[in-house]
């Protein structure tokens, strides 16, 4: 059951990419982005309401911890732009490459308050397979 839910989460992410991409194609990338965030904001307010939980705000936290929403805007803009040109599956594979390399860099240098985990050279093997896979997806 847990495995099924996990795969279902992935399915939802691809469906979301298609929905957001369709909206951006029709209304423009920035208008779509604003609407997507408005609908998302209402949805999370409903979730908070259903869980009867109050919004917590901690002033002592560094301001950059609240900045992920700003980065999220770029995620949506980038995804919609790539969807228009490349569809869903190829940007997914390329995004996975970006995720892998970024995780490795954050871990290696211990950025963003993470515990440093030194880079293991064998990870080049995995990255190479990802790159070859992407090339196969694009060319064939």
């Amino acid at each position: 059951m847990n495995n099924l839910i996990s795969a279902f989460i992935g399915a939802l992410i691809s469906i979301m990419t298609m929905l957001n991409g369709t909206l951006a194609n029709k209304l423009g990338n920035y208008t779509a982005n604003t609407l997507i965030h408005t609908v998302g904001l209402f949805s999370i307010i409903i979730v908070l309401f259903m869980r009867k939980s109050k919004v917590k705000f901690d002033k002592s936290l560094p301001i950059y911890l609240y900045s992920a929403g700003v980065i999220g805007v770029f995620t949506v803009l980038f995804t919609n732009l790539s969807f228009a040109v490349l569809g869903v599956s190829i940007p997914l594979a390329l995004g996975l490459l970006g995720q892998s390399v970024t995780s490795i860099v954050i871990d290696h240098f211990g950025l963003l308050d993470m515990q440093p985990i030194k880079f293991e050279k064998r990870k080049f093997i995995g990255l190479t397979f990802i790159v070859i896979g992407i090339c196969v997806m694009i060319i064939f």
Partner: protein, 148 residues
Amino acid sequence: MFYIAILVSVMTGVSIVLARTINANLAKTIGLFSGTFFNFITGLLTSLIFIFFSKESLNMTNLDFSSVPIWAYLGGLVGVIVIVLSNHITPKISAFYLTLLIFIGQLFVGIIIDYFTLGELSIGKIFGGILVLFGLTYNLLLDKKKAV
């Protein structure tokens, strides 16, 4: 445009990991759902700034919102469902299987969507996707071994 889209796709991955890491640090203190609330607040403000400085704000009145099928407006809702489900499932399954299964779900539904929207069922995408999956699995196994 093709090469820009390739670069932008990779940058999507960079932005996802940056946001995910920052969000995890925020959620540790104020909880995931409060964190998500602030994500959408700051995200919405940023989107409004973008729209203000873009050409799209000039054409706003000409937009035909009814020409868009209603389901296309629900991406933000689906995003929140993804967050709620992930929060529910994370303590019940190892990060290794979670990451792999999410990717498998994304890949196969992605290929199906591409079949319907781009009108092509490409063997290359399936085979290439399996190679990507293999590379991902290999590196996740290295992480897993270290975590034990």
